[in-house]
Symmetry: C2
Subunit: 132 residues, 2 copies
């Protein structure tokens, strides 16, 4: 399989696949006579794994560790579990922070009465300090 095909199959763009190879997260595949990368199903599976982990918001270092762990069949999955829990925690913190932003933005917008800038509650709120 050439890079374009594996890109279509896994949903990871060709440029990104090459980037992963440069970063050492994906091992370099063999090359065809004309120097094209030649992928097998294993690399495709790894890319799918990476994409799914990235879609769930895991960082590249996390993905790297998950990939390493996934190859050690006999070890306990406690490390995987704790990594996932730590990430969930981060996601929840981020949601909380964004909800605070959202609430303040909503309040700000609701208080604006579409007058001139000099009376604008939005500009006021930013200039002075009304919020937290």
């Amino acid at each position: 399989m050439r890079i374009g095909e594996v890109a279509r199959k896994t949903g990871v763009k060709a440029e990104t696949i090459r980037f992963y190879e440069r970063e050492g997260i994906l091992t370099a595949p063999p090359r065809t006579r004309s120097n094209y990368r030649d992928y097998g199903p294993d690399e495709a599976a790894t890319l799918t794994f990476i994409r799914r982990a990235r879609d769930l918001g895991f960082s590249m270092p996390d993905v790297r560790e998950l990939l390493e762990l996934s190859n050690e069949d006999d070890r306990s999955c406690a490390a995987v579990d704790s990594l996932a829990r730590a990430h969930l925690d981060q996601v929840e913190r981020k949601i909380a922070a964004l909800q605070i932003m959202r609430d303040e933005l909503s309040r700000m917008i609701a208080s604006c009465e579409q007058d001139t800038i000099s009376d604008c509650r939005i500009i006021d709120t930013l200039a002075a300090s009304h919020g937290p």
Copy 2:
């Protein structure tokens, strides 16, 4: 006021203030004899404005525009309003995306029974495709 003091007053780090000056978002203040930046209350107010807008998640281009608009007292604040609404929309989209991540992560973690990696539901879920 030297840069350290205005940094303390506004909560914007000195390095960041210099960065804003380089980027042209904050006008360069006069210098003392010894070439130190010498800020007045106006610059401090601008920095507070920037910090509050950034804390609310506005991008630097947005902040730039908000700053420009804030100087045009007589214009209608419709532009401010629509900028803020567009940003609120973005924040809400981000929250929704993170909630989907959170839910899938929770499900994944809940299904793991702390066995060996080869039976690990978390690794399974990443490798194959169970979610959206």
